[in-house]
């Protein structure tokens, strides 16, 4: 039974392949996307796609890339790695020259692998696990996001160096690679620069019950200076609320999963104070001089302002592709990859340069620090940790 869809896909691919040479016009650059609009991955991919579409229009209004118009097409990856891979194959067969991969190693990896097989450059919008590297996917694959090594280290340095918080209590959601590796690198770096981790507790996404962990936290001999929580919505709101509900006011820190107005509102005025997180960017001109321009373009395109800063990752992915193709003068995978490796890019989500393919295409990227006060976020500047831990 399982082979039937595969055979169909094969037939479809073959027929499309024959038509491929006609499908892509000479004066066009075709970027394919396999971002997920349904399923668990949708909250991260949907904003990325929206940002990417604005970027494509913006580029086309200004003459496109290398004087050619940009054609962008996304096929819903449905939060299923196999579907994501098949979509990438489909797009490549129809002539896609660059691939936008979903925002996660598990879901984005298959698209990256297919791009690699066809010698194309693929960029994930925000996969931050160091697994998303040229080591595992190939020498033409990149992620726009900083790695969790940077995210964890930036949080640790802010806590220890800037605020003098010496002891930490860590909560790690055990559900996905992202949450586990973020905690791991925070702990590693926090201890390396001299901090002490009092306890590293586990939580399972979906439990909606933090009572036992809370009992352990309150049972500690001395209360921690900072609580680092690596989880994501919706349970993240439950965890923070549970901690604040019982009167624990210690500062709370985390990563880009906190960058969600849904969380800030869920915490509200009562519980949304003294929360700090490391994320990709900030929706204001303080973060980047061109941010207002992007927000205006976005507003014009969709008729409303972006509801999360993750839209910037989609915009940046397309803009990064455009800049690299302009430098390379072609969409040829090898040349574009070389352009990405050999240059530094100024993006809405920070200054970015990549290490060589042998070194994993590790992104050297700055991160934004945001603080919450009474449920309102504020920009606290860019951070670039000196020696993030090795993956």
């Amino acid at each position: 039974m399982k082979n039937i869809p595969a055979i169909f896909t094969g037939l479809l691919a073959a027929s499309v392949l024959m038509a491929a040479s006609v499908a892509v016009a000479e004066d066009e650059i075709f970027i394919g996307g396999a971002l997920s609009l349904t399923g668990v991955q949708a909250p991260l991919d949907e904003p990325g796609l929206k940002g990417a579409e604005v970027a494509v229009k913006y580029l086309n209004d200004r003459g496109g890339i290398l004087g050619k118009q940009v054609k962008f097409e996304n096929i819903d990856g449905k939060s299923d790695p196999v579907t994501v891979g098949n979509n990438a194959v489909d797009l490549i067969d129809r002539g896609a020259q660059l691939i936008v991969a979903p925002c996660d190693f598990d879901f984005g990896g298959p698209a990256g692998r297919e791009a690699q097989k066809s010698g194309l450059v693929g960029i994930s919008t925000c996969a931050s696990d160091p697994l998303y590297s040229s080591w595992s996917l190939g020498d033409k694959q990149f992620t726009l996001s900083m790695w969790n090594t940077t995210m964890g280290a930036a949080a640790a340095e802010y806590a220890f160096n800037e605020r003098g918080w010496k002891t930490a209590y860590v909560v790690t959601d055990q559900f996905i690679a992202y949450t586990k590796s973020l905690s791991k690198y925070f702990v590693e770096h926090f201890e390396a620069i001299g901090g002490t981790v009092l306890a590293d507790d586990a939580y399972t996404q979906g439990d909606q019950d933090f009572s036992a962990q809370l009992a352990r936290l309150r049972g500690l001999e001395s209360q921690p200076d900072v609580i680092f929580i690596s989880s994501y919505m919706p349970d993240l709101a439950t965890i923070i609320r549970s901690i604040r509900e019982v009167g624990i006011t210690s500062p709370i820190m985390g990563g880009d999963s906190y960058d969600d107005p849904g969380l800030w509102e869920a915490l509200g005025e009562t519980f949304g104070s003294d929360v700090y997180f490391i994320t990709h960017t900030w929706m204001g001109s303080e973060a980047h001089p061109e941010m207002d321009q992007f927000i205006a373009a976005y507003q014009e395109f969709y008729g409303s302002a972006p509801d999360t800063s993750f839209v910037a990752t989609g915009w940046d992915t397309i803009m990064l592709m455009a800049q690299a193709v302009e430098i390379a003068g072609t969409t040829d995978g090898e040349a574009v990859a070389a352009a990405l490796e050999g240059n530094e890019f100024s993006l809405l989500t920070g200054t970015l340069s990549y290490s060589s393919a042998e070194e994993g295409h590790a992104p050297d990227k700055s991160a934004v620090l945001v603080g919450l006060s009474e449920g309102k976020p504020s920009f606290m500047g860019w951070r670039r940790p000196e020696n993030p831990p090795a993956p």
């Binding site: 439990d207 969600d260 969380l263």
Partner: protein, 298 residues
């Protein structure tokens, strides 16, 4: 262990167990009559959640908003019956199973498309953010409200089932549907009522469940559905009391493991929980409370 810890532990179990019991009861009410697990049950929690989100910012007091949201869950329950079950009820159980999945997917995707895949904030009353101190233990008032509302609802439900004509009709339909119809109990009506009750439980659960999070996402109903299903299986699919016992027992297992396991093993807590479930089922294959030997429910 000091008194404070014991109190804390007991309240944690009761709090979670109350939610689980209500969820399980909502599922088993329908299972009793149709012999069908309603997989669209979790989406009723979602419907109530998004109703609350859409009412956010309206001048209504929270209690009225919550009441409207619970009503929407009830309407959602009735709609499930009318749209997904009644048209195919004459066919087969499999057909109903498929339509319940389809209805669940439809509702979830509607939320994805028309609202957003990202979390949306729901309004909460002031009292949900307050806490009281008992024996040196700080307890969120919401937990006490959860326990109290579960007890009240379970008590009222028991009264209805035991003392009213409607309750007797529901029980009769559950124990022998054909016979119940022969003595004049209207089949369609009684099934719709069962769905409405199921929606009521889902709605109340939604208010208390979302009260912990403060936000709603399209997949919010998955966990309640799973929990309800496991609790029913442990307690006995053919017994209403079983569902409640199953709910509290599952909470006891979960919370105990959460307290007792060291952090390294805590990552595998679900494996421990399900091992316990398997052990229970090996010892009592039809659940803790078996139901009558006729194969029908009491």
């Amino acid at each position: 262990m000091d008194v404070g810890t014991i109190l804390q532990f007991t309240l944690d179990v009761l709090n979670l167990g109350s939610l689980y019991a209500l969820m399980a009861l909502g599922l088993v009410v329908i299972y009793g009559i149709l012999k069908l697990v309603n997989f669209a049950y979790g989406e009723l929690v979602m419907v109530a959640g998004y109703t609350l989100y859409l009412l956010n910012g309206s001048p209504l007091p929270w209690l009225i908003m919550a009441l409207v949201a619970v009503c929407m869950a009830v309407i959602g329950g009735i709609t499930t019956d009318l749209v997904a079950f009644r048209p195919v009820r004459a066919n087969s159980l499999t057909a109903m199973l498929i339509t319940s999945f389809a209805f669940s997917t439809l509702l979830q995707n509607a939320a994805l498309l028309f609202i957003s895949p990202r979390a949306r904030n729901v309004p909460l009353p002031e009292i949900f953010t307050q806490s009281v101190t008992m024996l040196g233990v700080i307890i969120p008032v919401r937990n006490l409200i959860t326990i109290a509302s579960a007890f009240i609802l379970l008590g009222a439900f028991t009264l209805v089932m035991k003392r009213t004509v409607l309750g007797m009709a529901l029980r009769a339909a559950a124990s022998n549907f054909t016979m119940a119809r022969m003595v004049g109990i209207p089949a369609n009506f009684i099934i719709t009522v069962a769905f409405a009750i199921s929606g009521l439980f889902a709605g109340v659960v939604a208010m208390l469940w979302l009260g912990r999070i403060g936000a709603v996402v399209p997949g919010i109903g998955l966990e309640p559905l799973l929990v309800a299903f496991i609790a029913c299986v442990i307690g006995g699919m053919r017994s209403l009391v079983g569902a409640v016992v199953g709910g509290y027992l599952l909470a006891l297992i979960d919370v105990s493991f959460n307290y007792a396991l060291p952090p390294d093993l805590l990552s595998f807590r679900d494996a421990f929980t399900f091992t316990m479930v398997i052990v229970i089922l090996l010892l009592r294959p039809s659940g803790l409370i078996k139901g009558p030997d006729t194969g029908k429910r009491t």
